[in-house]
């Protein structure tokens, strides 16, 4: 495979937006030391779309929690936009979880505006700002609906709008479509690409779905099983803007297959 020598996409040549510097995470569980990941280092270029894949249980989500400032790494550092990440800062880094996690007593509008409410903005102002992002995710007609009235895909759109509402430079997504059915998942993937192209965010996208990873990303960071290290940083040199058609190309298949082989072999190693 010669993917690493292929010319990088324009996005990858930009300066780093997020720098992960020899990051390690260890925790104690019932008196036993668990190394989640060890000495991870990689840069995420500004405005790029970078995926993190790896076998299940490899610590992808813990890595994302570190990136979001929600858990402290055992050693190493994360620099985002030039300053270290130590606490959650939704103005700098937005987060979208696997579970949309909407507040059931708030309308779509108020859920999206919730981070602004926490910041102390007035009702009128926050609704105006929220409206912009509700439109971006295509839910303007549902502004006054409550979460239980929405489908799974729509709820996740609300969650994306909420992650974006403070206009952060960086958006972290932790398996955001894992709970959705395949059809919705495909549609949401295209949706996220459109939003990314419109908003020019830096996106770090954790997934275990390789098709999704190759379809969306400029670069895929492949992690090993626990304790996770970086196996490869694979540049996805497929042309943009991408449509579903790209999935039928030979190049797409080869990239996806390449990642699959790496992760598959890990599985057998572990079982032995």
């Amino acid at each position: 495979m010669t993917t690493n020598t292929a010319s990088p996409s324009p996005a990858l040549s930009g300066r780093a937006s997020v720098q992960v510097q020899s990051l390690s995470k260890t925790f104690e569980a019932r008196g036993r030391r668990v190394d989640v990941f060890q000495d991870l280092s990689f840069d995420v270029p500004d405005r790029s779309f970078v995926g993190v894949v790896g076998p299940s249980g490899c610590g992808k989500s813990t890595l994302l929690l570190c990136l979001a400032g929600l858990t402290t790494p055992s050693s190493g550092a994360i620099i985002a936009g030039g300053t270290p990440v130590t606490t959650p800062d939704p103005q700098r880094i937005g987060v979208v979880f696997q579970d949309p996690n909407l507040l059931p007593w708030l309308t779509v509008e108020d859920n999206v505006a919730f981070p602004l409410e926490l910041k102390g903005l007035g009702k009128k102002e926050r609704r105006e700002q929220a409206a912009q992002f509700i439109q971006l995710v295509g839910l303007t007609d549902f502004s006054h609906a409550y979460p239980h009235e929405l489908s799974g895909g729509m709820r996740q759109r609300v969650s994306i709008a909420r992650g974006l509402v403070q206009d952060p430079r960086i958006l972290l997504m932790d398996e955001p479509f894992a709970a959705l059915d395949e059809q919705t998942r495909m549609k949401m993937g295209a949706e996220v690409l459109r939003i990314w192209e419109q908003t020019h965010k830096t996106v770090i996208f954790v997934t275990h779905n390789l098709t999704e990873a190759v379809f969306l990303c400029d670069e895929v960071v492949v992690l090993s099983s626990r304790p996770a290290t970086i196996l490869e940083r694979l540049t996805i040199d497929l042309p943009r803007p991408r449509t579903y058609d790209v999935m039928a190309t030979e190049r797409f298949g080869r990239l996806r297959d390449h990642i699959w082989r790496m992760i598959r072999d890990l599985g057998t190693d572990q079982e032995r």
């Binding site: 979001a68 929600l70 959650p88 800062d89 939704p90 103005q91 987060v95 979880f97 579970d99 996690n101 507040l103 059931p104 007593w105 919730f114 981070p115 409410e117 926490l118 910041k119 409550y146 979460p147 239980h148 909420r162």
Partner: protein, 248 residues
């Protein structure tokens, strides 16, 4: 015939029967006071009835207010600590079941015959269900919700006011309703046992003078007060709890 008219006729018939039974002498009018005697008791000295009602309403309101504030705060604090709740929860459940009314004479001894002893006693009995239901509701808020709050930038205080309490609110309010009911009962019981005023005092005083009209009047007012408090909170409960029903 409209339903309303049917109901009015039914009530009128029952009232007539009620009036008839003691008047004819089937049952002694000391045991069952006829409606006319109750009305007479009200008309005889409406100022006194109003005064006693006022005392009970104020005592109940104070007891409810104190029980809500202390119970809610203690419940939120207790519910946010898994360990404390696991330890103190069962203890409180047992304490809730104790016959606290036997301690009421002590409250009078310490705080006097006036309103303070009633308010203290009623508030103390009302706090239990409030603390327990608030703590249970808060402890059930899931970790993912707390993580979300942090990720969206909630401060420690906002975690309580904007996430935890709203999430737990339907269950909290039902605890508040039960607590308010107990507070009203506590005030009435206290007044009946040892006091110098209030609807409970009216009941026990006029009972000793065999004035059933006044006893019945005070009983009806006490029941009406309890129903009013319960009804108002139940209404609020339905409005707050809708999403809880809908999202499950």
């Amino acid at each position: 015939m409209g339903t309303k008219i049917k109901w009015a006729l039914l009530v009128a018939a029952l009232l007539a029967l009620w009036e008839l039974i003691p008047t004819v002498g089937w049952i002694n009018r000391i045991i069952v006071a006829p409606p006319s005697a109750i009305l007479a008791a009200l008309v005889q000295d409406p100022g006194a009835v109003l005064m006693h009602t006022n005392i009970t309403v104020l005592e109940a309101a104070a007891a409810i207010g104190i029980a809500w504030v202390i119970g809610l705060t203690a419940g939120v604090v207790l519910g946010s600590s898994v360990r404390a709740f696991r330890f103190l929860g069962p203890l409180l459940e047992s304490a809730y079941a104790l016959p606290w009314v036997v301690l009421y004479p002590l409250a009078v001894l310490w705080l006097g015959f006036g309103s303070t002893s009633k308010i203290t006693f009623a508030a103390a009995t009302a706090i239990f269900p409030i603390v327990l239901s608030t703590a249970a509701a808060v402890s059930m808020v899931e970790d993912r919700t707390l993580l979300l709050g942090r990720a969206l930038g909630a401060t420690r205080m906002q975690m309580y006011t904007k996430v935890l309490i709203p999430f737990a609110l339907p269950q909290i309010v039902s605890g508040l309703r039960v607590g308010a009911g107990l507070a009203v009962i506590g005030v009435l019981v206290g007044e009946m046992l040892l006091s110098v005023g209030g609807l409970g005092f009216m009941i026990s005083y006029y009972r000793s003078t065999f004035d059933s009209g006044h006893v019945y009047l005070a009983m009806l007012l006490g029941i009406a007060l309890a129903a009013l408090v319960n009804g108002a909170i139940a209404r609020a409960e339905r409005r707050i709890g809708w999403w809880n029903q809908a999202s499950r």
